[in-house]
């Protein structure tokens, strides 16, 4: 399911706007190249290390 309209109720308190953007991108297909996270990070205007840190956190928090 593509979550075009992520609910703000409850969700908004736990993760921020950037996390929501990351989730939306990850819900589509990841780029098939040698550095897929680099491309996603560039599209979101953040650096790759931050993207990976945030994904790791979302995973730890069981999202």
């Amino acid at each position: 399911m593509i979550m075009n309209n992520i609910s703000d109720k409850k969700f908004g308190e736990i993760v921020d706007e950037l996390d929501k953007k990351i989730i939306k991108v990850l819900e589509t297909d990841i780029p098939l190249n040698l550095n897929p996270y680099q491309k996603i990070a560039e599209d979101l205007n953040i650096d790759r290390a931050e993207l990976l840190t945030r994904l790791q956190k979302l995973k730890e928090k069981k999202f």
Partner: protein, 157 residues
């Protein structure tokens, strides 16, 4: 599909590491070049073996309201009802079943109100005789792995 493709499908189903070059790592594990791995993944996707390669999230943690829904729909209206249900972006599964409750689907919405409204709309459609909402009570398992590569000993070629 070649043998290496089966291995690729098995490996991809176990997940991608959150690191700079996840495909590089998988290619190394499978003993092929990363470029070849990517080329084969693209091909498997194009041919329809891979539906999607991306993140999987827990909709309930994201504040979504989910339920399974069972319907009894008259045959003459069946496909029309199924088509209308499919148009909702929160419907992830929709099946015809061999039972008097003949149409079953899962629905995730951003609120209970949206769920109620959508189900009220479905219930009012021509041919819909019964509608049961079956929300999850307890979570036992959610996992799927389609084993593509046979064990060495099982290989009867």
């Amino acid at each position: 599909m070649e043998k290496i493709d089966n291995k690729i499908l098995d490996r991809l189903q176990t997940g991608l590491k959150l690191e700079a070059s996840p495909f590089q790592k998988i290619a190394a594990e499978l003993g092929i070049e990363a470029e070849e791995l990517l080329r084969r993944i693209k091909k498997l996707k194009k041919e329809g073996y891979i539906r999607r390669l991306g993140g999987i999230f827990r909709s309930s943690r994201l504040g979504y309201k989910s339920t399974l829904v069972a319907l009894k729909v008259e045959e003459k209206n069946f496909y029309q009802v199924a088509e209308i249900i499919n148009q909702h972006s929160g419907v992830t599964h929709n099946y015809r079943r061999d039972h008097q409750l003949n149409l079953w689907f899962t629905l995730s919405t951003t609120s209970e109100l949206e769920q109620d409204n959508f189900l009220a709309q479905i219930k009012a459609l021509p041919g819909v005789k019964e509608l049961y909402q079956l929300p999850k009570e307890k979570f036992f398992k959610l996992n799927v792995f389609f084993k593509m590569e046979e064990e060495a000993g099982d290989d009867h070629e």
